[in-house]
């Protein structure tokens, strides 16, 4: 490799890493920013008047907005994927990062003051053009002893006690119907059983409900990944009374409120086959 090639590589690496480091053959740092958007607005627990989204008229008032991301990969021009190794921190561990856009104010009770809006890690040296990631907690980490777990899985709000796993997404809104209603959206694996009776670390779930996102052209220096609630809930009508199952959608296989939401994440639901996710989009930082 001559000096010019090296210089070119260094330039690409600089472009491609938020913190602008470059150079040798060691892993290169990578930072990926995330945003929580509601159409053109930025999600904020302070917006207690809510957002006009969905097909109805009642606003969706923020109560919570957190999700786990895992299996983060950068993709080079040839389509080869390079896994991003997440740095250890209170937001990252067990191969997952917790992105947290609520700050515990307004109606975001049970939340945390701290927020986390980016993923930090390292990737093998290379020239990358694209980004792929999954939403959720891989099965291998999804049935830890939560009580003994460390962050980001030591989180009683994200713990999904009835499956001894985690909520992959927790995006809850208050709907001021005649009787105020909390429209929960809790995404997680369902169809869970134990391989060894009495040992929940052997739990596995038949329906993983792990959405995937893929962006062929992504520049982490200039772009961020946005989860847009206006897209996620585009087909949801918050005016209508809950049709059964959990209040809102808690991933139940027959929960009617999941039917308009799951396809927006590219997940199959009932007779609707899996498609491409349509809720994450790239935005300028």
């Amino acid at each position: 490799m001559n000096r010019m090639q090296l210089a070119a590589l260094a330039t690409v690496a600089t472009l491609f890493t938020a913190c602008g480091s470059s150079s040798d053959t060691g892993p290169q740092p990578v930072a990926i920013d995330f945003k929580a958007l509601v159409g053109t607005q930025t999600f904020s627990c302070a917006d207690t008047a809510g957002y006009a989204i969905g097909t109805g008229t009642l606003p969706w008032i923020p109560k919570d907005f957190r999700f786990y991301v895992s299996n983060v990969r950068l993709v080079d021009a040839a389509g080869v994927e390079a896994p991003v190794t997440l740095d250890a921190s209170v937001w990252q561990g067990y191969g997952v990062a917790l992105l947290d856009f609520e700050n515990g104010t307004g109606n975001c009770t049970g939340g945390t003051v701290e927020t986390n809006k980016s993923i930090q890690g390292t990737v093998a040296p290379g020239s990358y053009v694209g980004l792929k990631f999954d939403v959720g907690v891989p099965t291998a980490s999804n049935h830890l002893n939560v009580q003994a777990a460390n962050p980001p899985l030591a989180n009683s709000a994200m713990y999904w006690s009835w499956t001894t796993g985690y909520k992959f997404m927790k995006i809850d809104g208050l709907i001021n119907r005649a009787t105020p209603f909390t429209f929960n959206f809790h995404l997680g694996s369902t169809g869970c059983t134990l391989a060894t009776p009495g040992d929940f670390t052997t739990a596995s779930c038949t329906t993983l409900n792990v959405p995937s996102a893929s962006f062929a052209a992504f520049n982490p220096t200039t772009q961020a990944v946005a989860l847009d609630l206006a897209l996620l809930f585009a087909a949801t009508n918050f005016d209508t009374a809950d049709g059964g199952g959990a209040p809102g959608c808690m991933s139940g296989a027959t929960d009617p409120e999941c039917a308009p939401i799951f396809p927006k994440l590219g997940l199959p639901f009932g007779t609707t086959p899996a498609g491409s996710q349509a809720s994450f989009r790239l935005v300028t930082k």
Partner: protein, 381 residues
Amino acid sequence: MSGDGARIARAALAAAAALVAACGGGAPVEQEGPGYTWVLPQGFPVPEVPADNPMSAVKVELGRRLFYDVRLSGNQTFSCASCHKQELAFSDGRARGLGSTGMLHPRGPQPLVNLAYLDVYTWANSVVPSLEIQALVPMTGFDPIELGIAGYDEEVAARLRADPAYPALFQAAFPGDSHLYSYLNIGKAIAAFERTLISGNSPYDGYQRGDSTALTASARRGLDLFFSDRIGCARCHSGLTFTDAASTPGAPGNPFPFHNIGLYDLDGQGAYPADGSGLMALTSRPEDMGKFRTPPLRNVAVTAPFMHDGSVATLSEVIDLFAAGGRARMQNGVPSPLQSPLVQGFAITPEEKADLLAFLEALTDEGFLTDPRFASPFPAR
């Protein structure tokens, strides 16, 4: 009380206990377990305890306080005891529980009796393996919200830290722990207290221990019916705890003590109501529709209404629907296709039914319902 007075009183108490035991009166006996002296009904084995949560007297006392403490709910209005009342064998008389924020639970609060011997703790969940993990369900659940403290970890810790009694109790129960007030430790302490909720001194137990007068003649006939092949109650309501969802300490547990008893068949395919589909809600397996844990039966007479949704008001009606081979069969004429083959129906005369009821009522352990060791440590409000 001090000095000789105390010694004499203790000796008198010991003598009285020995006397009662000798007469077959069923006084509880002390049995040594690792780090803890259990007070157990005669004939009851020392329960198994998870290795990471050994018993201690101070942990049990801490757990009792937490069980009765409303600071363990988000809005500080509810405690575990709000839905688990001692005088009702720690059930609450409601068909469906009511959470701290007013949400109705799809199921009725279960009695908390002899949990230390059980393999399964809730109506329809096969993946919650311990009382420690189970405690997180009412603490952190959203559907329904029960105690409603998911994400309130730091606030709850602050409440407990500010209490005059808790810091010393937590430190003694969890020496050297750097996260004293974690949900982990709260769950462990509550689980330790719950393991002491052992009931085994009913008239039935007295009879078992040789006191032939402990049961009425009717209850004795009922006992025979209960264990008979014809009536078949004991096919599932078996053993020390009267459920197959339990196992002897040291023995492997029953991995699947869930049964469809034909309570519903809404569509001819065995469907239960959507908010009470049983184990299927967890496993998504169609064959798990309507399967619920066999409820333990000690103190059952004080735990009405019955079934997972409280849809059967009296024990008399419970017997009627089992006699009919399930409520679905009673109503539709044909059994649910998903019904357990163990529920076949039986003929029973009114006299026999009265005897069976007398036996079920003889499973009530009055001492358990009033034992001060299990009562609230807080002054009545």
